[in-house]
């Protein structure tokens, strides 16, 4: 047993009306990777905010013992001085500034009166090398991909002399390859003696990197598992997180499509030779000659790494809401359609449930009621005059149907958890009475329990004869939920397989064979 670097003892943090943390105990040994898992709202982030001083000493009860001494952090810089550095889920980088400028933001090199740019950039290059980036630190953040931005965040933490690195959902916006690279980097740092705490929903990652796993549930630490002394698998962790056994992560559905034989009458939507160009760099093809169809009552998965063009494909089909110079033909119920804007797409019974709930899905400052009716105001109004009572009723109906957890539909959507926000977003699109739903990453960033409920909603939809196109970058989900899977890489469809044939290995193989693989 190594030396205990950090011990959080009996931490209790109360917000007005709610106990976010209740007597939490956490021990982290020097030089280990400690995973913190739990459902959304379980209190993981709150705990880390206590540790890093975002919630100052005195606003919580209990003690933080770091390196043998009791710490009383008043602000983030206090904890950073001790070498505790937190990397938040949302990247905190300024896109228009260079890597070097970002890396030393608030920690500038040089004298008080002037920044020493030479030192800044040469130091930055040094840290970039440590995280395995070959870019010059003078490159602007906006010109590098999300995967590399995440690495810059880590380099930035290293520049603060981090001894205890806390990574909050570091891979939530990364594709599989970038995620794997990041995890390997963590293992590399571990060898050099760094201590890390990782918060993540992706249990395969936990199994891959963690030495110890602490499960947080309803504001308390439930158990700590030692990966070296006991057998750890994903099911075991899930059982700890939800407090019960989840026998099947994907609810069963009768699969009506045993073989891939197309009956013309069954096809709900078909896309032929669909090509989309980038809206700004118009010579670049983002979607390249895609052919696909989806039948009534079918879930079609589209798997692809981030940047493969999946969202772009979906949005271009949905009323040309993305891209320029779109060519190809779209058939809905066998009839060729030209959908010029989202309104026409909605009228053609098409729905696009965005991957970015907060960015372009929901109006966070408005109540559930307003969000539910937004895409179908005609359904709750007469000649442009809203029947607020009816609107209220619609929102309540969907709230009950989808089991959205909220005290009232007058609650602002911004106050809901990720899973419940996703349900409101689904409700909004279900209220437009679509025949074809395109769900873009429908379970991103939501916990296991809520995921299961979303899967059940998807099953109910296809059982009612709707078609679902599900875009996802989680392989188990695509394989578990789809009847048929299209594999997309670099704007092209590079494979199609039935769910029974699909395995993680042959899907990845399909992508690797398709050519250069992904971005260099």
């Amino acid at each position: 047993m190594g030396k205990i670097l950090l011990e959080m003892k009996n931490i209790t943090k109360t917000f007005p009306g709610v106990k976010a943390l209740d007597n939490v105990n956490l021990q982290v040994e020097e030089g280990e990777i400690h995973a913190l898992v739990g459902e959304n709202g379980a209190g993981k982030s709150t705990l880390m905010n206590v540790l890093s001083g975002i919630y100052p000493y005195g606003s919580y009860e209990g003690d933080i013992v770091y390196n043998g001494e009791i710490c009383q952090f008043q602000k983030i810089t206090d904890s950073e001085k001790k070498g505790i550095v937190i990397i938040h889920q949302e990247l905190a980088l300024v896109p228009q500034m260079s890597i070097g400028e970002n890396m030393f933001l608030g920690n500038e090199r040089g004298k008080k009166s002037a920044i020493n740019w030479n030192e800044t950039y040469s130091e930055a290059d040094k840290y970039l090398k440590m995280v395995g980036l070959s870019e010059s630190s003078r490159v602007l953040i906006k010109d590098i991909g999300t995967g590399k931005q995440q690495l810059v965040e880590i380099a930035k933490a290293l520049a603060k002399n981090a001894k205890l690195l806390i990574l909050d959902e570091p891979t939530s916006s990364l594709n599989e390859t970038d995620s794997r690279a990041l995890l390997d980097l963590m293992l590399e740092f571990k060898k050099q003696g760094m201590t890390m705490i990782i918060i993540t929903h992706k249990l395969n990652e936990v199994v891959y990197v963690a030495d110890k796993i602490t499960v947080v549930r309803d504001g308390s630490t439930v158990e700590t598992m030692d990966c070296h002394t006991m057998e750890i698998n994903e099911d075991r962790i899930i059982r700890g997180m939800v407090g019960r056994e989840i026998t099947d992560r994907f609810p069963k559905r009768q699969n009506p499509f045993g073989d891939i034989v197309v009956n013309a009458g069954d096809v709900n939507m078909e896309v032929k030779n669909w090509t989309v160009h980038h809206p700004l760099y118009t010579e670049r093809k983002v979607v390249d000659n895609v052919n696909m169809y989806v039948r009534k009552g079918e879930v079609v998965g589209i798997y692809g790494l981030m940047g493969a063009g999946r969202t772009e494909l979906a949005m271009s089909i949905f009323g040309r809401s993305y891209g320029s110079d779109i060519t190809g033909s779209l058939y809905i119920n066998g009839e060729e359609m030209v959908l010029k804007n989202p309104r026409e797409a909605i009228n053609a019974h098409l729905a696009y449930v965005t991957e970015d709930r907060k960015g372009n899905g929901l109006v966070l400052t408005n109540p559930i009621r307003v969000n539910t009716s937004l895409a179908n105001m005609n359904g709750v109004s007469n000649h442009g005059v809203i029947d607020v009572d009816k609107e209220y009723q619609v929102a309540v109906d969907y709230k009950e149907k989808l089991r959205t957890k909220t005290p009232s539909v007058e609650q602002n959507v911004g106050n809901l958890s990720g899973g419940n926000q996703q349900k409101v977003l689904l409700a909004k699109w279900m209220f437009t009475d679509p025949d074809i739903l395109i769900l873009d990453e429908p379970t991103r960033g939501i916990d296991v329990g809520a995921k299961y409920e979303i899967y059940c909603i998807i099953n109910d939809l296809v059982n009612a004869g709707k078609s679902v196109v599900m875009i996802s970058s989680e392989l188990p989900e695509v394989i578990g939920m789809s009847d048929r899977i299209y594999i997309m890489n670099e704007g092209k469809f590079v494979g199609e397989m039935k769910a029974e044939e699909a395995t993680q290995e042959n899907i990845m193989a399909c992508i690797l064979q398709s050519g250069r693989g992904e971005e260099a």
Binding site: F15, P16, P342, R343, V370, M377, S381, D389
Partner: protein
């Protein structure tokens, strides 16, 4: 008790308004409470109510503002002066032409903001500079004094003066009657809404709160009716202001069009992907602003009975201030016509009160600045407190 506190918080600005008003009544030894000053409160501030209504619609779409409206009031005034006084065209034709000019400007501005994506404050800053210059130039070309007058009586009587005017201190029966009718309507609407909600089985306000709300509304309406009746009758501009406030209250709270203004301010992209033509809404916000600016211009020329080059100076700032003090979010997505009316009235009361106390004009500006800042700080702190809950 919790509900009572919540009510207080929700109507904080309204309570501040009452306190400030009482403060000035006491300080002016009752002068503030006189019929003539009730009249002045309305006629002096009518322009703020109308401009702020347009500004509210712009601000809802994401904190967008129109800096050009004050200068445009002057420009439209100059055009009106040339048409009615210099060219001696009939009032009706002139009113129509002025409106047409407003629509043309609104279309150009709306097009630039919505379709060319020029930041509104830059697009309107151009108008702020250009129309002040153009308006002044037109006035000095057509008049040696830089001011055009007199306007025809038909025009003046549509936008200024009183309805069925009676001598001061003689009770104007029409005014009282209108007050009674308005009171009856307000009470009826309050109770019918509640009955309707209960019938359909929805949550409704308690009977007590409906009674309290109705009593307070009737008290305010009748106070105004009584005071205005003694001051010669209903000011014509009040009709314009009430009509506009009611129409926009309805649009913002009850129509899909109004709803879209809020959702665009909350999340433009989400609104676009929900099938709403967001560009059209942005276009409409600025077209609407220009039309309301023209109406403002009518009442301003009518009040001063002349078109001159200083007309409309700083009006855009008054309108923005009224919105902000009235709780309209500077980032868009929230705010109400009622709040704006309270904000505009509060600023009007402070202006009038300080005038009656003979406070120096420069010092009045200091006070107004502090009130504006205070309102925003209050707004943001309240929002933060809510978010922490």
């Amino acid at each position: 008790m919790a509900k009572f506190l919540e009510n207080i918080k929700k109507n904080a600005m309204l309570i501040v308004l009452v306190l400030v008003y009482v403060f000035f009544v006491v300080m002016t030894e009752g002068k503030m409470f006189s019929p003539l000053n009730f009249n002045a409160l309305i006629t002096q501030n009518a322009y703020v109510f109308i401009l702020a209504t347009g500004m509210l619609m712009c601000m809802l779409t994401g904190g967008n503002i129109d800096l050009s409206c004050g200068s445009f009031v002057c420009f439209i005034g100059a055009i009106g002066g040339i048409l009615m006084v210099v060219k001696e065209l009939p009032a009706g034709v002139s009113i129509f032409v002025m409106l047409l000019v407003g629509v043309v400007y609104g279309c150009i501005l709306g097009f630039l903001v919505a379709y060319v994506d020029i930041p509104p404050w830059i697009a309107t800053l151009a108008g702020y500079l250009a129309f002040r210059g153009w308006g002044t130039a037109l006035l000095s070309e057509n008049s040696s004094t830089g001011s055009i007058a007199p306007f025809p009586q038909t025009f003046l009587s549509i936008f200024s003066g009183k309805i069925f005017e009676t001598p001061i201190n003689e009770l104007n029966i029409v005014c009282v009657a209108v007050g009674v009718i308005a009171s009856v309507i307000v009470v009826a609407v309050n109770f019918l809404t509640r009955a309707n909600r209960l019938k359909k089985g929805y949550e409704a306000d308690s009977l007590v709160s409906v009674i309290v709300k109705s009593t307070l509304s009737v008290a305010v309406i009748m106070l105004f009716a009584y005071k205005l009746a003694l001051a010669g009758g209903i000011p014509t501009v009040l009709i314009w202001v009430v009509a506009i406030v009611l129409i926009y209250s309805f649009i913002t709270s009850k129509t899909t069009l109004g709803r879209y203004f809020y959702t665009i301010g909350g999340n433009k992209e989400a609104t676009r992907l929900s099938g709403v033509d967001t560009k059209k809404i942005m276009f409409f916000a600025y077209l609407n602003m220009a039309v309301l600016t023209v109406i403002t211009s009518y009442i301003v020329i009518a009040r001063f009975q002349a078109a001159n080059s200083t007309a409309g100076t700083n009006y855009e700032m008054d309108a923005i201030a009224a919105c902000v003090v009235g709780g309209v979010s500077a980032y868009g997505g929230s705010g109400s016509v009622f709040g704006m009316v309270v904000g505009a009235t509060l600023i009007g009361v402070i202006n009038l009160g300080m005038q009656l106390l003979n406070v120096d004009a420069d010092k009045q500006k200091i006070v107004k600045g502090i009130v504006l800042l205070g309102a925003v700080v209050f707004d943001i702190l309240a929002a933060r407190k809510n978010a922490n809950k």
